[in-house]
């Protein structure tokens, strides 16, 4: 087991080496995307179309970090198998590890942004409740399960149908607007169901609850998100296992 951990950790480091080797800022580039998105969203929704939301930069950044983890993972998942031909040629290498490592790498980038988020919260004189320590790992787990499950589906499908990468790209950019990243959703409205069934929406809303409001999470929405994620994970894993042998042949 600990060998698997060593291998996983090594592959995560390898992922970072592949991404940032040769660039002067290295890993700091991973923070460039959420910070620039933050600046543009704050400009648009404070100056151009003002939304009356308290602590708006913090409000947006709490959502941007998990969203970027989600969308970067799935975007990369499409090419995860296709670009890992070297690993898939090793005797007995488990292909599913590639997807897990992909989720983990992007989670580390998320964790890297977390101190900035906490610093922003402190600078707004918001008190950070001890709930954070208990709830954030739970939210991480839900998102990791969801992301990995979808990763299995996308990566497996893209081996056989290269259109999947394109479709994923479009769906992710649409989903950005259907997930309450830069606005407050109205759960009681006619389209509230969109936010209720979207596990990423539940995850983001609960980050806001514990970090901004300092209140307990909304347990029913978390339970639903967790169940949905788990079902997606099991389905994704099942599909992946079914086609594993074909993946290796087709790569």
């Amino acid at each position: 087991m600990s060998h698997t951990l060593e291998l996983t950790w090594h592959l995560i480091k390898r992922d970072f080496q592949l991404r940032y080797s040769g660039s002067s800022l290295g890993i700091l580039w991973s923070l460039a995307a959420p910070i620039s998105q933050l600046l543009i969203l704050v400009f648009v929704f404070r100056r151009v179309i003002p939304l009356e939301i308290e602590h708006y930069p913090l409000f947006v950044f709490t959502a941007l970090l998990p969203w970027n983890w989600f969308s970067a993972s799935l975007g990369a998942a499409a090419f995860a198998f296709v670009s890992s031909r070297d690993l898939l040629r090793y005797p007995n290498f488990p292909p599913e590890l590639i997807i897990v490592v992909n989720t983990m790498t992007n989670m580390l980038i998320f964790l890297l942004g977390l101190p900035i988020l906490l610093g922003m919260a402190l600078s707004q004189q918001l008190s950070i409740s001890w709930l954070v320590v208990g709830i954030v790992p739970l939210l991480l787990l839900i998102q990791a399960v969801l992301t990995t499950g979808l990763g299995f589906l996308i990566a497996t499908a893209n081996v056989f149908y290269r259109d999947v990468a394109q479709i994923t790209h479009i769906v992710l950019s649409l989903l950005f607007f259907l997930t309450p990243v830069f606005y407050h959703p109205r759960l009681d409205s006619a389209y509230g169901i969109l936010f209720t069934i979207n596990p990423m929406s539940a995850v983001i809303q609960n980050y806001r609850k514990v970090l901004l409001d300092g209140t307990a999470p909304d347990w029913p929405s978390l339970a639903l998100a967790f169940t949905t994620s788990l079902v997606i994970f099991l389905f994704g894993y099942w599909i992946h296992q079914r086609y594993e042998s074909d993946i290796i042949d087709a790569i």
Binding site: H10, L11, Y90, N92, Y161, I248, A250
Partner: protein, 415 residues
């Protein structure tokens, strides 16, 4: 010796998804119009069974596309057989293909650590072994450069050094011994010997039949995805040569029509001799008197050899022979003394030899021709494999017949 690897009736079929550019649209159209899949399934391996004992060097030979690489991949656990079972005792490690296994963007050292961990070593042990692997590969200077900057030889040295350092129970080497300079090959072969005597099992493929014969205790011959034979190296290699010859005969017959168009050049074969007498040309005529290099089995040919004597030579010997492409002498005529045979020779002229109908099976042959002093002390001029003769034929006539002589035995059974 205990058995470390068993293949039980394994078959491998490559399916529809082989074409990576299949799009959703194609699949949907196919589904809606109920078309059959355009790419028929191909069997890369069929019913392959064998066992490998511990400590043996097991070779697999076959021509390109016979299924060697597919078989090795399955043995390593890269992919699963469509049917049948593979049982392994202990860890299998190997170099499956040049270019696979290492990421070109990462350095040699980074790739080495990945390789070590992926073959089941702990991080600590990889660190311990790292330097000795690099030293064996002789890559101290470039180990921290990206692998994409390596030459094929460097790449192979690293792959090989990594694979053997991991002390696998079974080491699989696909076609890799053919690369690298001779000195490094020697080093690898020594290491393979050491591995073997320490109880490791090796499975190798090679195009080089001599290498297979020198290294292997046991050899499997594959043809079109099926096992032709499994046995000792010597008989397996000769079986492989037979298969190769059959294939080249088929190819020669197919290519025979165009062969006459290719001009006879002096770039092929070898010319030896002191050239007091020179062979100026060699022309083949068929039974209609047409100049050709391609005739059908059973056609009579006439060969004319032009010569020119540049130094005062009173007498000489002459040979003209038909040889198969594997240097088997089919027939050779020797004239020990042209003076006794033809009388006084003028300074230049042509020797004409009328062969009767050639009872040769389709294939590539060579006319080797030479002039020598009568004491055979040297050659004046000898043309070796410079003049090809392509024999074509109707495969139906000689179906199932191989070899050199075109015999068509009638076989029947008496009860």
């Amino acid at each position: 010796m205990p058995i470390v690897l068993t293949a039980e009736k394994i078959s491998k079929r490559f399916l529809r998804h082989r074409n990576p550019t299949t799009t959703v649209r194609e699949s949907l159209t196919r589904l809606l119009t109920r078309q059959a899949n355009p790419q028929p399934a191909t069997w890369a391996l069929q019913d392959v069974s064998f066992t490998v004992e511990q400590g043996r060097v097991f070779g697999i030979i076959g021509h390109n596309g016979a299924g060697k690489s597919t078989l090795l991949r399955l043995l390593c656990g890269v992919g699963r057989p469509t049917s049948g079972r593979i049982m392994r005792e202990g860890r299998v490690s190997g170099i499956l293909e040049l270019g696979g296994g290492f990421n070109p963007e990462l350095t040699g050292r980074q790739n080495l650590v990945t390789a070590g961990l992926l073959s089941g070593m702990r991080q600590e042990r990889v660190r311990d072994q790292e330097e000795s692997i690099i030293a064996f590969a002789e890559l101290e200077n470039v180990i921290d450069q990206p692998v994409r900057t390596y030459s094929t030889g460097m790449y192979l040295r690293l792959a090989f050094a990594a694979a053997i350092a991991l002390e696998p129970a079974v080491l699989v080497l696909d076609e890799v011994l053919a690369v690298g300079d001779e000195r490094f090959q020697r080093k690898c072969l020594d290491r393979i010997g050491a591995l073997k005597s320490s109880g490791s099992t090796l499975i190798i493929t090679s195009h080089n039949a001599d290498q297979i014969q020198a290294l292997c205790d046991e050899v499997l011959v594959l043809e079109e995805g099926r096992v032709v034979m499994q046995g000792d190296a010597k008989s397996a290699v000769s079986c492989y040569h037979d298969l190769m010859r059959q294939r080249s005969e088929v190819l020669a017959v197919r290519g025979g029509k165009d062969a006459a168009a290719t001009r006879l050049t002096f770039s092929q074969g070898k010319r030896l001799g002191t050239e007091e007498v020179q062979i100026t040309n060699l022309v083949i005529y068929d039974n209609q008197g047409r100049r050709t290099e391609t005739v059908a089995t059973g056609t009579a040919i006439t060969v004319e050899v032009g010569f020119s004597i540049t130094e005062p030579v009173k007498d000489m010997a002459f040979t003209l022979g038909i040889f198969s492409d594997l240097h088997v002498k089919c027939s050779e005529v020797t004239i020990a003394s042209t003076h006794d045979f033809f009388g006084q020779m003028s300074d230049s002229g042509t020797i004409r030899c009328e062969f009767g109908p050639l009872p040769l099976l389709p294939g590539t042959y060579f006319l080797n021709v030479g002039f020598y002093p009568v004491d055979w002390s040297r050659a004046f001029d000898y043309h070796w494999q410079m003049h090809p003769l392509y024999i074509t034929g109707y495969s139906a006539t000689y179906h199932g017949v191989s070899g050199i002589v075109a015999l068509n035995p009638r076989c029947s059974v008496k009860t």
